[in-house]
């Protein structure tokens, strides 16, 4: 075992393969970009293929290769299940799956793993049933969890080499020029897919909306695309926004949002021209409204908003409260529509967004980011991956990327959820190291990371109730009691890569 910078024990074999986490900026990365194999397309040759079956045959997919998908359709995705079912029927086995993330809707994956079709997985997230199955040990090899920026890095440096990318596209022409903002099942940004298209040997565009050549705007350009398949439906538009843009009336969530907004407003970073990123979820959307109110009052404009984009951000863009949106993932129909209609709503790739190895990711330019947490520990480490029962159920997402990049990183979380304390001695799984986290915001007040003496000074006269992180933990434990530690078995079911490729944690299995 080797102990890393956040105190986690990493088994030797894994530590040797990846190296252990030594600090958020400990690695100065230099790599030669991985190259994609190209077979030219001559005049008169068609890229259109009748069926997914035929496309798989043409790509030459065989046992042992790596395939990828994007998760822009989120819970509405039909592409991955459709393609994997065909691959399984063709008898191809032992594939590595390198999806940008995996949703609840991808439950059939459990069968493909049990049947030996998929034997390795890397992903940002694994949701309820698939995550639980992985935690219960259905795979021989551990899943590798990568952040959105970390995945971009791994693909660019060649740690992941994609043989065939199957990319669902809301619109495409016969030559593969594709975008996500036009069509029946629009998903807005295709930021994750752009990385796959650039670095995969074979790229198959799967669309339910074939349009005349040339299709614009061009998110995925024809020169990266080998084949185009037209199917009846690539996704359910209602599933794309599922759960993401819920406006809250819950007083606890509103209180957290108020405290979070006050923390940002009183911080040295809130000024005209500042930039920010917020995620989804009740408290976060409410916080955005409070910030918007204050920006109107002071006549501030944000220079840009980044990230996962929701409709409320787009409303602020239209109102002129935000100058530009740069968008790697659109969380709802409103965001997809904004990208289509508003030239200041700009699509970027996941590498542009967050890859720590490239020549400067967008997160580096962020002033303020607001993130969520399943758990925060007294070292400010954050878990967004494993549930309080120890089972994998979340997603790494851009959490550690934005946390490392932004000047001010806030975590908004209730002190307790039901009987589960959120502020704990040790998180089950570290996704984002405490050194990236500046302020934890709860319904009863905030805790500032002691390493940020400048912020402690800045908040000296604030009316916000302030606690140490230990005091917040004590208050949580006083209400719910101290939870018993999870009983893990000794099988590593997931390796958690930090964005730079080092190992920040591993997840052990839980017996059923």
């Amino acid at each position: 075992m080797k102990t890393n910078k956040v105190g986690r024990q990493i088994p030797d074999e894994i530590a040797e393969k990846y190296g252990v986490f030594e600090g958020q900026f400990a690695r100065k990365l230099t790599y030669t970009k991985d190259a994609a194999k190209v077979t030219n397309v001559l005049p008169g040759e068609s890229k259109l293929v009748d069926t997914i079956h035929d496309a798989i045959l043409k790509t030459g997919l065989k046992d042992g290769m790596t395939i990828s998908f994007h998760h822009h359709f989120r819970e509405g995705d039909k592409v991955m299940n459709m393609v994997l079912a065909e691959i399984a029927a063709m008898g191809i086995k032992n594939l590595s799956l390198a999806s940008s993330s995996i949703a609840n809707v991808h439950e059939p994956l459990i069968d493909h793993i049990n049947n030996g079709v998929i034997t390795n997985v890397t992903s940002s997230g694994l949701r309820d049933k698939v995550g639980a199955a992985i935690s219960h040990g259905i795979m021989k090899n551990p899943v590798v969890i990568r952040s959105h920026g970390g995945r971009g890095r791994a693909i660019e440096e060649g740690s992941i080499h994609i043989d065939v990318a199957f990319l669902g596209a809301p619109s495409s022409d016969e030559y593969g020029n594709a975008n996500g903002s036009h069509g029946k099942a629009t998903c807005g940004s295709m930021g994750y897919a752009r990385v796959d298209a650039e670095f995969a040997d074979k790229v198959v565009i799967i669309t339910d909306n074939l349009v005349p050549y040339p299709n614009t705007p061009i998110s995925i350009p024809q020169n990266h695309v080998d084949y185009v398949v037209v199917v009846d439906s690539i996704g359910d538009p209602d599933g794309i926004a599922k759960g993401a843009t819920r406006f809250t009336t819950n007083p606890k969530e509103l209180l957290i949002a108020q405290n979070g907004a006050q923390a940002i407003i009183e911080s040295p970073y809130f000024k005209d021209g500042y930039s920010f990123q917020t995620g989804t979820g009740g408290s976060t959307l409410a916080l955005a409204q409070y910030l918007a109110d204050e920006m109107r009052k002071r006549q501030y404009k944000a220079s840009f908003a980044l990230g996962g984009i929701t409709s409320p951000m787009c409303t602020m863009l239209e109102e002129g409260l935000i100058e530009k949106i740069i968008d790697t993932q659109s969380f709802d129909k409103g965001a997809a529509k904004s990208m289509k209609d508003n030239a200041n709503h700009y699509e970027i790739s996941a590498s542009f967004y967050a890859n720590p190895g490239n020549k400067g990711a967008a997160v580096n330019m962020l002033d303020v980011v607001v993130l969520s947490a399943l758990e925060v520990d007294t070292d400010f480490n954050v878990n967004v991956m494993t549930g309080s029962d120890g089972l994998i159920r979340g997603a790494s997402g851009g959490h550690c990327d934005a946390g490392a990049g932004a000047k001010l990183t806030l975590i908004m979380t209730p002190l307790i959820r039901g009987r589960i304390p959120t502020i704990v001695d040790h998180v089950n799984t570290v996704i984002t190291p405490g050194e990236s986290i500046d302020i934890v915001v709860t319904e009863i007040g905030i805790a500032i990371n002691p390493k940020r003496q400048d912020l402690i000074d800045a908040f000296k006269n604030s009316t916000l109730p302030q606690y140490t992180i230990q005091e917040l933990r004590d208050k949580a434990y006083a209400v719910v009691g101290e939870p018993e530690p999870i009983q893990y078995n000794d099988k590593v079911v997931a390796v958690i890569e930090y964005r730079d490729g080092s190992v920040i944690d591993v997840v052990y299995g839980v017996d059923q």
């Binding site: 039901g418 589960i420 719910v480 939870p483 999870i486």
Partner: protein
């Protein structure tokens, strides 16, 4: 508090989040607890302990408890178990609050 005898099945609580539903019935020999909890891994032992202690305080020696927990706090568990016991013993009025207060702070 004197002995309480379970006269018939009774329930208290709901299956809502942060609540616990208690179904209590008579039993021949001792206390049996059948608990299903959303926080079994972290608080299962503690929940059983609180149910058992509450029954002890109320003087219930024989009971069968079926509990469905959705992350209730200890105070909620005590309240639901107490209510179920009172209902099962047909004690619908004239509660001995002083006796209850001796153990339930």
């Amino acid at each position: 508090m004197g002995k309480v005898v379970i006269k018939h099945q009774a329930t208290a609580g709901t299956a809502e989040s942060s609540d616990i539903q208690i179904v209590i019935d008579g039993n021949d020999n001792g206390v049996d607890i059948n608990l299903v909890s959303s926080v079994e891994n972290q608080f299962g032992k503690q929940i059983r302990k609180v149910i058992r202690e509450t029954l002890d305080h109320l003087g219930v020696e024989n009971a069968k408890i079926v509990a469905v927990d959705k992350g209730a706090l200890d105070c909620t568990i005590v309240a639901r178990v107490t209510a179920a016991v009172m209902r099962s013993a047909d004690q619908n009025k004239d509660y001995d609050w002083e006796a209850l207060d001796t153990w339930n702070a």
